[in-house]
Symmetry: C2
Subunit: 346 residues, 2 copies
């Protein structure tokens, strides 16, 4: 193993000079010294020791990525989480940072990660406010909160405009002629993202004089054991004709279950998803969904974080990303054509 000291000795210069070359402070070193040192570095295959660097500089090149999940849960089974973290990883690598991934809902683990590794920054995804409250390092570590609703002055935030997105969902289903609709979320109880999508959905429906009935709100994905609850609702004369799912994954599972119960999508019931993950193309029928741009989000988040780390002028504290509709085949238009007449905006 080669060290900086050895390079310095071989080059007949001090460690400082070598350090300057390594860290690109080339204005402090003469051109031929730079060249000589770089030659030695690549010959010897020298790699700087990150631990020593972190220790001396009191900051590592590590960025913590904290994903809301119960410890021991493989959250990458959720394709949205996996794709998002993967995109963040690519962006961080590109900038010379190393992601430290933690699945957690225990603030002590998170604190230990942030402090123990002297992280340069942290990115949170989907963390509930009640957990974020306890993480005091938010005040000292450059942080970008994503898909969360916890606010703290000076802490940047990036997320989908969930209210607007929910509204778009409600508006779309209403325009497609649906008057009785339902909603299915991942975790309405805890997830503020889900709560805002619901609120927006209500607003969007209200604009068309539609009220979301309480028994049509499913706060968790339905499973094979509990599908009966939904099917009997669907079969009742005043049951919903469309279901908005706040994640493609829920929608895909739901369609599968529905099809096993003999319901046809979209003939018997329409299904609208959220995210536009690759899976939306392989469901049957292909899923109509509200799309978000995960790569764009990851790029923006890392960019914001690096700005923050470099103490540059901060970007706006809060950035809301839009979603757009991708129509495939899981939502159909219902009702007599006359019902559409009042809509003059089409």
């Amino acid at each position: 193993m080669t060290t900086l000291k050895e390079i310095a000795q071989a080059a007949g210069v001090s460690m400082t000079t070598v350090s300057n070359v390594i860290n690109g402070k080339l204005n402090r070193v003469s051109a031929d010294t730079v060249e000589r040192i770089q030659a030695l570095i690549s010959q010897s295959g020298y790699v700087p020791n990150q631990a020593a660097r972190s220790l001396a500089q009191r900051e590592s090149r590590v960025v913590a990525i904290i994903v809301q999940a119960s410890e021991n849960e493989n959250i990458f089974r959720n394709p949205y989480a996996a794709e998002y973290v993967g995109a963040l990883t690519v962006e961080l690598h590109r900038s010379g940072y190393y992601p430290l991934i933690r699945f957690s809902d225990d603030y002590r683990d998170v604190e230990a990660d942030l402090r123990g590794w002297n992280v340069a920054g942290a990115i949170f995804s989907g963390t509930f406010s009640r957990h974020l409250q306890n993480i005091h390092s938010l005040k000292t570590v450059p942080t970008v909160l994503t898909d969360c609703y916890f606010r703290l002055p000076g802490v940047n935030h990036v997320g989908v405009d969930d209210d607007a997105a929910g509204q778009m969902a409600g508006d779309y289903l209403a325009r497609m002629g649906h008057r009785r609709v339902a909603l299915m979320t991942n975790n309405l109880q805890d997830s503020e993202v889900d709560q805002h999508r619901l609120a927006g959905f209500r607003t969007g429906l209200a604009a068309h004089g539609i009220t979301l009935s309480e028994r049509c709100v499913f706060p968790q994905p339905i499973a094979a054991e509990t599908i009966g609850q939904l099917t009997s609702l669907l079969r009742s004369p005043d049951g919903p004709t469309a279901i908005f799912c706040t994640a493609d994954r829920i929608a895909a599972q739901l369609m599968q279950l529905l099809s096993a119960e003999g319901f046809r999508v979209p003939e018997d019931v329409s299904v609208l998803g959220f995210d536009n993950l690759p899976m939306a193309e392989i469901t049957h029928p292909p899923l109509t969904t509200l799309a978000q741009d995960i790569d764009q989000k990851a790029h923006l988040v890392v960019d914001m974080l690096l700005r923050h780390i470099r103490q540059e002028t901060l970007a706006p504290e809060r950035t809301l990303l839009g979603v757009w509709l991708v129509e495939r085949q899981s939502v159909r238009r219902v009702g007599p054509p006359a019902a559409l007449a009042p809509d003059t905006s089409a």
Copy 2:
């Protein structure tokens, strides 16, 4: 920020003693000193500095997870990779290690990670032999190779028995009455996993007197632009009646494309997948596939690696995991019942 030194001063003991308590060397410290120090530690919220620890001990608690991918490619879009890495992450956390995830096909980056972070160990997934050859740290860093075919004495290896699995696929399709079959892989050119599945497939078919025609081997997934190549083959009188895909993802995409072209699965053509990912349940029709146990694999891999790190008696150098058939609805039985007669083993 609290340091070990401060704890020592507050407790009126030396740093050595505190260090011993932190590292569980309790036989060297009296019971009440232990207690006093532990109280101080939890009161102050002290968290050891990982960089300092790594530096002093010349080894970090970092385990590199290297996933074969082109740099800048978000490989977590591949649900198998995501689920596997997620499972490894959970296992490593459970044992107090930190995963360092790297998507790469450049051995220099990998070397830099391994050396720069003084990693305790490394796990490779799917790395091609031609890349692994260049990674000299394999000889010095405790390593488990997974889903690879590169052999090096002293380096552990865990993988699916791809030959046996391919054979199982061939045997199954033959038993279901298919005499003309096709194969579609992810990257036959580079992936030794795919190559072994193909070899096994040929063996399995040969046992039933079936030869896999060259034009029925698709070395890469087919896209919308190239589907014509397959459909014309399918329509020809001696075209294949079943397609074995070496990943569920390929199978799901294929079924989607096929359905858009007016082919029905399994009536017109059967499709067999590989992995049994959650997505296999949401395709239409639900996918018949060869299942592997990802959690088991991850558990085994981490267990092996930790053994290696702790210099315990090594597990066998090579462990092959089996797969099993999960029958859903994408493969149908064809041909006259008589065709089944020669099979006496059923």
